[in-house]
């Protein structure tokens, strides 16, 4: 009977390799340097801080609604505007001689971003309006985030708002096929318009931006009806090209 001899050489080799491995494990001196990186992101946010019109019965700004004093000789409110735009003391043709309709604006927590800090929406409501009634609503926006934003565009009923200096857009809000109001926007010297965070200013409100919606009720407006329109102001971080749906 021949007994096969064990593979001694293989055992030795394995032993050497095991010892070598052990040598690395125990003999290696090493050192780790760490970098702990923390990234805190800022916020993009803005709010409507003020809203008023030239027919809400209160003189809010003498350079814009000087005769909106709520004291028309005929009627219970300010004399109705018969044109849009700012009304200074010297502008004596801005109003009719009757106070029939009213136009109110307010800020509130509404719109798709309701619930976020600040007033995310504004309302403009015309009551007892009639053909050729006009209303100008001024809205003031403040950047209450920590990142600069561009006021990229204003859209009305999904369309880019037209600057009043170049024209106005008719809208058929009553659904009867005929345009019943026209709306344009003014007060924005350029688009996009950069607004820095309010905390950057030396005074509160230094960076506020005010623009106005100029509304004109047309002949085809239905009587005794409620006409609604949606307007959106799109702001995005100042260094990006994306994020606003309407090309302003």
């Amino acid at each position: 009977m021949i007994r096969k001899s064990p593979p001694v050489a293989a055992f030795v080799l394995l032993l050497v390799m095991a010892l070598a491995t052990l040598g690395v494990g125990y003999g290696l001196w090493s050192k780790i340097l760490f970098i702990q990186g923390t990234v805190n992101t800022g916020t993009v946010n803005a709010e409507f801080v003020d809203a008023f019109t030239d027919d809400d019965g209160v003189q809010d700004d003498v350079s814009k609604d000087f005769y909106d004093d709520g004291d028309c000789e005929i009627g219970d409110s300010s004399c109705d505007p018969k044109q849009t735009g700012a009304e200074t003391q010297s502008n004596l043709v801005h109003r009719y001689d009757k106070g029939v309709a009213s136009c109110l604006a307010d800020v509130g927590d509404l719109g798709p971003h309701a619930g976020q800090p600040g007033h995310q929406g504004a309302t403009v409501t015309l009551d007892e309006a009639y053909p050729s009634y006009h209303c100008t609503a001024w809205l003031t926006i403040r950047n209450i985030g920590s990142i600069p934003v561009d006021l990229h565009s204003v859209s009305i009923e999904g369309q880019a708002a037209v600057p009043c200096a170049t024209g106005t857009t008719p809208f058929n809000l009553g659904g009867n096929g005929d345009a019943d109001v026209t709306i344009c926007v003014s007060g924005l010297t350029q688009l996009p318009l950069q607004i820095d965070p309010d905390t950057w200013g030396e005074e509160v409100g230094e960076e506020d931006v005010t623009f106005d919606l100029d509304i004109h009720v047309l002949q085809e407006a239905p009587q005794d009806s409620t006409l609604k329109f949606d307007a959106e102001v799109c702001l995005r971080q100042w260094n990006e090209e994306l994020g606003c749906p309407v090309d302003g």
């Binding site: 690395v24 494990g25 003999g27 290696l28 001196w29 090493s30 050192k31 780790i32 340097l33 760490f34 970098i35 702990q36 990186g37 923390t38 990234v39 805190n40 992101t41 800022g42 916020t43 993009v44 946010n45 985030g145 920590s146 990142i147 600069p148 950069q194 971080q237 100042w238 260094n239 990006e240």
Partner: protein, 219 residues
């Protein structure tokens, strides 16, 4: 006959006496010396520490010769600061505040071999720490890139470079905030750079496994 025996005994005794005296003489006359060796081994140490950081914002991403310094339009919106952990100079803390999508910063981070043994940089890695970083993938060899939905982090190192005692090495740590980053969020990542004595073979894993545990975690 009797005389002859007595003479023999006497001779033997005399011989023994001579031998005994000779032995005694040797014992007293040997001069000897003991030389003593006291062995002391002072081992060196493998050590390193962060020695300096310079962070610069830039745009646009990615980093290239065409980049411009600072933020877009010269704004000062985000801020990057750094500090050494007060309890452990192995840990460099880089903090970015008020960042936003497209914010980018490049930090030149320098470390020095603070030990007495040459080391070789065995590797590095970048890992997400907070769970709000999604779909993170680490790629690259010499230049490691951690790509997450919210952040991209690049670490350019000197893997396999030998660093002698007292000598330093500069690496580049770059970070870019991506579009999906949430507002008002906090994201954390960690970079590890491991170096081991120059005369041993070691992978990055060996290096990390052999490194002493410290109060910053890992290793």
């Amino acid at each position: 006959m009797i005389m002859a025996r007595q003479r023999l005994k006497l001779g033997t005794v005399a011989m023994l006496l001579v031998l005994a005296l000779a032995a005694l003489g040797s014992g007293y006359a040997l001069w000897s010396k003991v030389l003593k060796i006291e062995g002391t081994i002072n081992t060196g140490k493998v050590d390193a520490r962060w020695s300096g950081v310079i962070c610069s914002e830039f745009h646009p991403w990615p980093f290239s010769p065409a980049i411009l310094p600072g933020e877009v339009d010269g704004k000062d919106v985000g801020r990057t600061t750094w500090a050494l952990d007060p309890n452990d100079d192995q840990i460099l803390i880089i903090t970015i505040e008020n960042s936003y999508p497209s914010y980018a910063v490049d930090c030149q981070v320098e470390f020095v071999n603070d030990g007495s043994v040459p080391v070789i940089i065995r590797g590095n890695d970048i890992t997400p720490v907070t769970l709000n970083l999604h779909n993170c993938v680490l790629s690259g060899t010499q230049t490691k890139t951690l790509t997450c939905d919210e952040l991209t982090v690049v670490f350019v190192d000197n893997i396999n470079a030998q660093v002698d005692p007292g000598d330093g090495v500069a690496s580049s740590f770059r970070l870019h905030v991506e579009q999906p980053a949430e507002q008002g969020a906090k994201y954390e990542i960690q970079v590890r750079v491991c170096m081991a004595q120059w005369n041993e073979f070691a992978t990055f894993g060996d290096c990390v496994a052999a490194a002493p545990v410290h109060n910053g975690g890992g290793g």
